[in-house]
């Protein structure tokens, strides 16, 4: 699958995320405290709430509606009420651009 140019590295503060919509789907792109970038599906697996309004704490993202948590590096569900893991997508940085491989 092609790599899609999603955003600039400066579009996301460290320890934060943004929403990115592409081809009718919604994604979340994260900038970790270590300076790395990650991408996951944009909606919480619990009740389809956009994660972009949530809180990034270290390597966790917390859903803004029910406080469920995922490890955004692996997509693993870490705290109830989320039970189903979040889908993740490969990310690479070239220059000041963030690319996501959308399967």
């Amino acid at each position: 699958m092609p790599w899609i140019d999603a955003c600039a590295t400066t579009d996301i503060d460290e320890e934060d995320l943004i929403r990115w919509d592409h081809a009718g789907k919604t994604f979340a792109i994260y900038h970790s405290p270590d300076g790395e970038f990650f991408a996951t599906a944009g909606l919480c697996t619990h009740e389809n709430v956009h994660l972009c309004d949530g809180l990034v704490m270290g390597n966790l993202v917390e859903c803004p509606k029910h406080n469920g948590q995922f490890d955004y590096r692996t997509g693993e569900a870490m705290r109830a009420p989320v039970c189903v893991n979040l889908r993740t997508f490969p990310v690479k940085v070239e220059g000041d651009r963030v690319f996501v491989e959308v399967a």
């Binding site: 934060d16 619990h46 009740e47 809180l55 039970c83």
Partner: protein, 363 residues
């Protein structure tokens, strides 16, 4: 006038799904991302301070109560202990259930488990019912935590100031959970993977109550029950008083928390007991903001909210007549005016939702 069916398996539950109400997006006041990130930031310090005061006060009050027992002089200490046990546990359960009180997860979990026991709620069940309460706040047939169902049964509301109905409902439920896991209704919102936790938690709770009752029988004194169990009744009044104000007399089946939730300014003692849940519109609109940041959140978004009630007494003066009117007219609700700086209520959407009361029913 429409009759409401609050069963999670009833026609109103079905209609809420079919109408699109359960899938609709809630109204939120716009808050800049950087401001919201600052408000959502977690901290251990406020909750550690409050928890030391909370449990320290309980130990002190119960100790004095036991020392003075059975003198009548012990009564004031039991009454104060009871409010901390039977009311403040409700807000601790709530905040730690959200995971926002402390920054450190295990601290939230420990206080959540203790508070769940004191407030007589299965910790593995009520976490999920509260998630539904936030997704579908006061949707008839969907929200399992509706405190004032219509038509309101005023006698029951008053009885619950002493926790009577809650305890009567709790005993068979926790025994059933201990024997066979979640009830059929609970299975509509508790995922299958969690059913084992429901049963294990119930077994722990039942075991502690059995030991307490055994000690009371063995010593021929109700003193053990004055410490564990009974304060859920004699100290329940404060959490019922504040809990009724959260949504009482306001709209149901709407997707704007400004229409179905109430913010009330309260005295500092009630705010400590209630852990700032008097900022209830703010909490429902932004559940990730910790209790200690809710006053700041209120300042940020108050231009978009109905003016808060200025005291508990004033809020009751607003709510109680509406509850009494709902006895005869289930569609009646209080529709509070918004300030000129606020975005209008989403009447355009609400008019088209089956089950939503007509605006003419509002005050």
């Amino acid at each position: 006038m429409s009759n409401r069916d609050y069963s999670l398996f009833g026609p109103d539950a079905k209609r809420a799904v079919e109408s699109g109400l359960t899938a609709a997006e809630w109204y939120h006041t716009e808050v800049p991302r950087k401001v919201m990130k600052d408000l959502m930031a977690r901290s251990d310090q406020p909750a550690i301070r409050d928890t030391i005061i909370y449990y320290g006060s309980m130990i002190l009050l119960a100790g004095i109560g036991i020392a003075l027992w059975p003198s009548l002089w012990s009564i004031p200490f039991w009454l104060a202990y009871g409010v901390l046990y039977g009311s403040a546990s409700d807000s601790r359960w709530h905040e730690c259930g959200h995971g926002t009180a402390f920054k450190t997860p295990w601290m939230n979990d420990v206080v959540y488990q203790i508070a769940s026991f004191m407030i007589m709620r299965n910790p593995a069940t009520w976490r999920w019912s509260h998630a539904r309460h936030h997704s579908e706040t006061y949707f008839v047939g969907r929200d399992p935590e509706i405190a004032v169902m219509r038509p309101p049964e005023v006698a029951k509301l008053i009885l619950n100031f002493f926790g009577i109905l809650d305890v009567i409902a709790f005993v068979p439920r926790i025994l059933r959970n201990a024997i066979s896991g979640p009830t059929p209704e609970e299975r509509t919102y508790v995922p299958h993977s969690e059913w084992g936790k429901v049963q294990r938690a119930a077994i722990v709770h039942v075991s502690i109550y059995a030991a307490t009752i055994g000690l009371a029988v063995g010593t021929g004194s109700i003193l053990p029950l004055m410490v564990i169990g009974l304060p859920r009744m004699y100290g329940a009044w404060h959490h019922v008083m504040t809990g009724l104000l959260q949504h009482g007399g306001l709209a149901d089946n709407v997707i704007d928390h400004r229409l179905n939730s109430r913010t009330v300014h309260m005295n500092p003692i009630s705010r400590f007991i209630y852990w700032n849940m008097n900022y209830h519109v703010e909490h429902h609109m932004f559940p990730m903001v910790p209790y200690h940041a809710l006053p700041r959140l209120h300042e940020v978004i108050k231009h978009d909210l109905p003016p808060p009630n200025r005291s508990i007494a004033e809020a009751f003066r607003e709510m109680w007549p509406a509850i009494k009117r709902q006895v005869m007219n289930q569609d009646h609700f209080i529709r509070r005016d918004l300030p000129p700086t606020a975005k209008p209520y989403r009447e355009d959407f609400h008019h088209y939702v089956p089950g939503m009361m007509p605006p003419s029913a509002a005050e």
